[in-house]
Homo-oligomer: 213 residues x 2
DNA sequence: TTGACAACATACCCGGTAGTATGTTCATCA
DNA sequence: TGATGAACATACTACCGGGTATGTTGTCAA
């Protein structure tokens, strides 16, 4: 009955709660979402949620954590490839965008979590819990940033300020969480085609030398 | 005592409320911001706000409207220039980005307003009020999109799907509302330099033929 | 078979917040 | 000058939503 996910176990009931919570948070945002909303979507009551989570922010944090776990897993096989930096970046960016589209609920929560932290809209207790998650997210971002730097050193990219550029690129890659709306009968190929266009836009913005094969 | 702004008059008391509301909404988001928060920032009480606005969503809508008014004013002088589309786009994009940085409070509200509409997180009454604003924002976006199409026809740009591309570009140009943080002693030149980098990134993403002079 | 505990549901409390109803003050104009 | 209304402040209500305290049911181990 227990499914291994990452380092901690995640029973199926918790997984259902996470999925429902992610959807609610995506549709209404953190503060506009009530615990009862999440419970209603589950066809359950508050009791179920508070049996697994001690607070609303705790639930939110776990959705955040789960979303980041997905991201790390998605890029992990590509991180230590022996290809050139520019090529590693391209492939990682691609799977990242696919993640943004296919796991939209969780990625929206990650986004809002970062926002909440930037705005300081967290209580002192929350900040310690959030610190780990924000750190995880920052390191994830750094993986991409470091590759950008390496690719520029290789002469495969040309851009101005590294920090600003990474922000621009990351927003571009993340943007589907805002404007993508799932079509009935969308194929995997359709999604990959959109991802390809996004990555292509980003790579041109990064001043790459070569087009898409 | 009345300052003409656009088509309707805006007395200074209302302007102060708008400014305070924009800051609060930027820092905490719509639903996490209480009317008392806005009043507190004004050094006043609810009474003052409810004297001018009939509801919280009404206040929010007016901040939205004011933000869009600023945007239209900023690009107006450039819209009907006789330059080529690519050049008009570049200049309009530049002033747009400067707006995003210098009027960050209001632009965040515009963003959240669009978000709320996309998520359908509005009551039926609100939707009619919002409809105008969303329409205004859509037409604003179309101004840029049409220029992209024209520039592509001119052979000055090269990109894939027009709709997706415009989304990517617009997110890129808007992105400072998320990551820009005002520095003590920031100069106008500093801001313009950042805007230049953003526009440069976007133009490369759009497959332009020529670099920045 | 029973008792102990996990996994919920039910019922309740209470603080915060949108909105309202009612003062209070000051300027303007007949 | 006094009456009227704009521009607020004060005081209050009603409700929603986070959190808790307690009840109920099924399961499993001894």
């Amino acid at each position: 009955m227990a499914l291994g996910v990452g380092e901690h176990m995640l029973d199926s009931s918790r997984a259902d709660i996470l999925e429902a919570a992610a959807h609610c948070f995506m549709e209404r945002g953190y503060s506009a979402t009530s615990i009862d909303d999440v419970a209603r979507r589950l066809g359950a009551t508050k009791g179920r949620i508070y049996h697994h989570y001690s607070s609303k922010s705790d639930l939110f944090a776990d959705v955040f954590r789960f979303g980041m776990e997905m991201n790390y897993k998605a890029i992990e096989p590509l991180r230590h490839s022996r290809e050139k930096a520019v090529e590693r970046w391209r492939k990682m960016a691609f799977v990242h965008v696919v993640q943004m589209i296919t796991k939209r609920q969780f990625q929206r929560v990650v986004w809002e979590g970062v926002e909440m932290h930037l705005r300081g809209a967290t209580t002192p207790e929350q900040r310690t819990v959030f610190a780990d998650l924000i750190g995880s997210r920052a390191r994830y971002s750094d993986v991409f940033r470091d590759l950008l730097a390496e690719a520029r050193d290789d002469g495969d990219m040309a851009f101005g300020n590294l920090g600003i550029t990474n922000q621009l690129v990351f927003i571009t890659l993340n943007s589907p969480i805002f404007w993508y709306s799932p079509r009935a009968g969308e194929t995997e190929g359709y999604i990959r085609e959109i991802a390809r266009q996004i990555v292509s836009f980003a790579m041109h913005g990064l001043g790459m030398k070569e087009g898409n094969p």
